[in-house]
Amino acid sequence: MKTLILRTASNYLLPLLLLFSVFILLRGHYLPGGGFIGGLIASIAFVLHAFANGLENTKSLLSTHPGFLMPVGLTLAVISGLAPGIFGLPFMTGLWYDEAIPVIGMIGSALFFDIGVYLVVIGVTLTIIFTISESA
């Protein structure tokens, strides 16, 4: 499926879709969206790029194996769960910083947890799809 149109489009779509996925991730707490769906959108962006340019190009774009996102995401999620322990609160208590940050909005442990989910989902989806398409 290496059509010129798709290839050209995918080069522009990839950053746009990634930006969109981050947007979806961040708005999740107030409006429809969240880490899971954001991660899926990001993965679809890469898959689309792989379809248009070939798997090898996408992988060289990524430079590391997407599988590395899995432990990173899991660790982030667990740490965000453990963080309240520093203040003597039970596991996974929501912690929030009182002031809103521009663009991002409110910062809290739930956000980091969601980012962890986001990374894990990208890692898992891309690992599965890349592995299968390499071996098929």
């Binding site: 429809p32 947890f113 969601d114 989910v117």
Partner: protein, 768 residues
């Protein structure tokens, strides 16, 4: 005390990186650990004489499971045996297995085992007792199977593990039942509520389970067979496991719990029966053995039988005799085992019929063997004499068939005396064969520990005051026997007991001089082996094996379609059973919303896509049609205002189609592999399952909607979690734990895919 128990485990862990350095000539340094522990427990004696030391460490207080340790007289005796004999074994091993490739590993297992044993005898909590109990089984599995290139060794390790592991499960069950009765896992609590337990309707069950645990561990008939089998292990292991530790764990359990059960006829008579049968049977077996270790193994089983028998008698005298005999046996049996190891190490044979005159080449070993044989025979002034005196005393004054008890004990002791002399004396007397002229006793690291233990057999016999007030008296208190006029001494004057002892010694010596060891007699006995409990147990094992391979072939046959079929049918049966009789769909149709044009349209699209999927002749078309079904579903979610769900479903469906295409794209052209009958069957199952889910959905609809949870979430999403999107707040906050587990599962799935696809076995690693 926690550190003392855990030190074995910590040390074993420490050996993983540093073992390589220590397994050379410095390996003797490792004996510092058991020695330090021995001294630690030794200096606790004055405190323990005063009162038991109770140490509490919280572990899972919510469930009442705590690392509580109780150092009373009974635990102290066992702890000293474990660490004391342990020290000797550690020193001995450092030479015995010198230069062995896996010496560090061996010491690691020994440390683990010692830690587990200490935990076992110190635990004050039934659950931690069970944990340490199983840890001893597991670490002994490694020790017995240490020569893992020998199939026989592996097999006996496996048998030992399965028998003792089975007993461990009995112990767990017993602990849970006792918890059900007394509402506590604490052993002290349990012993205090003895009447509560004895009057409970589950009393018999508790006793049975405790027996299951103790008899398997302490090798009582008919579970005795694992112990002679475990002789495949290196000799230090046999010494450690069979003289002082592992097999005494069952005895410890019976001693420890006896205050709770004493008075119950069932308890006393069963122990009397089983212990009696074991001691006579195993002692009889020793007459037919030629292999030194085999003789010692059966005499160990017999000695354990005597201990169980004494606990069964249950009088104060019997308990005292049991405690003393425990020590007597540990000392002389460890000596004999170590001695056997030295002989085996030098002469490369353990057959008594081939060995003679070794005193001329290894005098210290001969002295040790002789002292141990004296103690084993109960000849004054050895420690064994005191033990035997007490045993006869106890059996004559018991309420349970005193005459039969005494006769059984005398005959057992006669045969044990024979066995002890055969092992401790026979290899050293007579002429020295020329082929053994150049033998040596080996390093002092071998014979010094042996001699120390042997000397103790004599010293304690001459000065019983060493242990009577410091060890035995506190142990009696721990067994609930207060203010016992304890007097250990060699000479009691001329009485019936002395006559019995003399008879035993006379008969035993007669037997020793009449019966020459020979291989033929051993073969005679082996003929009966196929009727033994071991053969039965092995038969059971192979039957399980056959059944499991049959079952695997039937259920786990590797065809995905069969798995799905089984899963669906099973679910249908389960749900159908659940709905049977209480399915009353009662739907108020006027409450439902009207069907809109959009919905009807989408339903039509879905239906036609499904029909298309089923009947199309191309895989890719089928996948695309499935995608259409998924997208239609997403639209339904959108109509019913579930945007989060719809978005996720959209993304998932896209990825699913991509995945399918990736896989299917490479497959050969679509061919009909299944005949029409299979397809009809599959169709029926699919329709049936779909119908069942529909019925289930209808059933759910007809129940009143419980909205409490969702109301709570929507009311508190902003208040508690500062989020306005309730769906996401549930995901990352209210039910964040679920999400955490879910993403973990996702990672595991991805790793599974990665492993399956990327794993390229070398041809020799493949099955078939």
């Amino acid at each position: 005390m926690l550190l003392a128990v855990l030190s074995g485990f910590i040390f074993a862990l420490f050996l993983v990186p540093f073992g390589k350095v220590l397994k050379g000539k410095w390996s003797i340094l490792l004996s510092v650990l058991p020695l330090a522990l021995f001294i630690f427990f030794l200096q606790k004696i004055p405190q323990v004489i005063d009162r038991a030391i109770l140490e509490r460490n919280q572990w899972v207080p919510q469930l009442g499971i705590n690392l509580d340790f109780n150092l009373d007289g009974l635990s102290l005796i066992f702890a000293l045996m474990i660490t004391g004999v342990g020290t000797m074994v550690f020193v001995y091993t450092s030479y015995y297995l010198k230069g062995h490739v896996y010496l560090d590993r061996f010491f690691g297992f020994l440390c683990l085992f010692m830690g587990a044993m200490l935990g076992l005898v110190l635990s004050e909590n039934l659950i931690t007792l069970f944990l340490f109990w199983e840890l001893t089984s597991i670490s002994s599995f490694f020790l017995i199977g240490f020569n893992n290139e020998d199939p026989a060794s592996r097999k006996s390790a496996l048998i030992a593990l399965s028998v003792t592991g089975l007993g461990g499960l009995c112990l767990l069950a017993a602990g849970l039942v006792i918890h059900g009765i007394t509402d506590s896992f604490s052993i002290v609590d349990m012993l205090q509520s003895s009447t509560l337990i004895q009057d409970h309707s589950f009393f018999m069950a508790v006793v049975f389970l405790i027996f299951g645990a103790a008899f398997t561990k302490s090798a009582q008939f008919p579970f005795h067979f694992w112990l002679p089998g475990a002789m495949k292990a290196p000799t230090p292991v046999s010494t450690y496991l069979h003289s002082a530790t592992m097999v005494k764990a069952g005895i410890y359990l019976l001693f420890r719990l006896s205050p709770a059960f004493s008075g119950s006829e069932f308890w006393h008579y069963s122990l009397w029966c089983v212990g009696g049968a074991t001691m006579v049977y195993a002692a009889f077996q020793t007459l037919f053995r030629d292999d030194l270790k085999s003789i010692l193994a059966y005499s160990t089983v017999s000695a354990l039988g005597i201990l169980v028998f004494l606990i069964g008698l249950g009088t104060e005298e019997a308990m005292l005799a049991g405690l003393v005999f425990l020590l007597v046996h540990a000392l002389y049996k460890a000596t004999l085992f170590l001695m056997t190891g030295i002989i085996d190490h030098a002469a490369h044979t353990r057959n008594v019929s081939e060995l003679s005159g070794l005193r001329k080449v290894m005098l210290p070993v001969a002295v040790a063997g002789f002292l141990a044989a004296l103690s084993n025979a109960g000849i004054p002034p050895s420690f064994g004499f005191i033990g035997k005196d007490l045993i006869y005393e106890a059996s004559m004054h018991t309420g349970i068939f005193p005459l039969i008890s005494t006769v059984a004990l005398v005959s057992t002791n006669v045969m044990l005396l024979f066995a002890g002399f055969l092992a401790g004396l026979r290899p050293f007397i007579g002429p020295l064969p020329t082929k053994y002229k150049d033998l040596q006793a080996g390093s002092p690291r071998l014979w010094v520990p042996t001699l120390i233990l042997a000397t103790l057999c004599l010293v304690i016999g001459l000065a019983p005051g060493l242990i009577s007030n410091s060890l035995i008296a506190p142990a009696l208190v721990a067994l609930g026997i207060q203010d016992y006029a304890l007097e250990l001494k060699l000479w009691h004057g001329f009485n019936t007991v002395l006559a019995l002892s003399a008879t035993t010694i006379g008969l035993g010596l007669g037997l020793f001089f009449l019966l020459k060891p020979s291989l033929n007699r051993e073969e005679l006995m082996l003929k009966w082996e196929k009727y033994s409990p071991l053969a039965f147990f092995e038969g059971l094992g192979s039957l399980t094996f056959r059944f499991s391979s049959l079952w695997t072939g039937l259920v786990q046959n590797g065809y995905l379609r069969n798995y799905i079929l089984v899963i669906l049918l099973f679910l249908m049966a389960l749900i159908g059973y659940g709905m049977w009789g209480n399915f009353h769909p009662n739907i108020d149709f006027s409450q439902l919303l009207e069907l809109t044009l959009y919905e009807t349209g989408i339903m039509a699209i879905m239906l036609s896509a499904i029909v298309f999927t089923v009947f199309t002749g191309s895989r890719l078309t089928a996948v695309a049609a499935m995608g259409v079904v998924g997208y239609s579903l997403c639209l339904l979610f959108v109509f019913y205002s579930a945007p989060d769900l719809a978005m996720t479903q959209f993304a998932i469906d896209t990825l699913t189609v991509i995945l399918f295409v990736l896989v299917l794209y490479r497959l050969p052209k679509y061919l009909p592999f299944s005949d029409s009958r299979v397809r009809v069957r599959d169709g029926i199952v699919a329709l049936g399952f779909g119908g069942m889910i529909t019925l289930l959905a209808l059933g759910v609809l007809s129940n009143p909607v419980v909205s409490e949870v969702s109301e709570y979430y929507s009311a508190n999403a902003y208040k508690l979690a500062k989020g306005k999107n309730v769906v996401n707040v549930i995901l990352v906050d209210f039910r964040g734990m679920d999400t955490l587990v879910e993403i973990t599962v996702l990672v595991i799935a991805a790793l599974g895919v990665f492993g399956l696809m990327k794993l390229r076995l070398k041809s020799r690693e493949r099955i078939r």
